[in-house]
């Protein structure tokens, strides 16, 4: 096993690394996207919309995002309880960046698809 030299958790360095780790939970972008487009939502609503997510993961992601100040959790101790999540100001600060990222991603996807079909056509023609 050999002790890993230094524990070196939490690299002091890059704020980008921190923020990407934040955004990159398997479900995180879907959660943020849903909160952005459908507004504040209850736990169950989110769970239904972010299809495939387990309660455990959803809870964990929401707690992490709350801890980072990206969203707010409003708990009403009614029976049954009602918990509403909404984006904070900080959460909305990502709208712009995420929008651009999505745009770039979409463009690349389209370019790649065009490239692939071009190649396919070439192959068919060469045959």
């Amino acid at each position: 096993m050999n002790a890993p030299a230094e524990p070196r958790k939490e690299s002091v360095s890059c704020p980008m690394d921190f923020i990407l780790r934040m955004l990159m939970g398997p479900w995180t972008t879907y959660i943020l996207y849903n909160l952005k487009t459908h507004g504040p939502q209850r736990f169950g609503e989110l769970k239904r919309r972010v299809s495939g997510v387990s309660a455990k993961m959803l809870t964990e992601r929401l707690r992490t995002l709350e801890g980072a100040g990206l969203l707010r959790r409003d708990y009403e101790a009614t029976i049954p309880p009602k918990v509403t999540y909404s984006l904070t100001k900080r959460g909305h600060e990502l709208d712009d960046v995420l929008g651009r990222l999505a745009e770039v991603g979409t463009r690349w996807e389209a370019e790649d698809a065009a490239h692939r079909s071009l190649r396919a056509a070439e192959l068919k023609a060469a045959e």
Copy 2:
């Protein structure tokens, strides 16, 4: 084990998810940052600069980025071999977004730090 309902790998959906997964290899941002600030580099140089990365991880990340078209790999079959990595046009398309992301991350970090020291001062005063 219980078959996981549906295999459902590669969710068709979100191009942002794809791109974030790309960016989020533990070392990816460091690699891109280095290539951006220090220009094209050889494998060994990168490995030395991205401190702590193992050859295995570095190779794997570089291959992934190459596959996504973010960087180019130039192999010269001299002895010893010389392999140079450089950002492609597509790689540079992320400069803007990553810059913003870094800016946001930095600002939040500063805000959080200010908040913490304020809290600490309050506690000390209340004592």
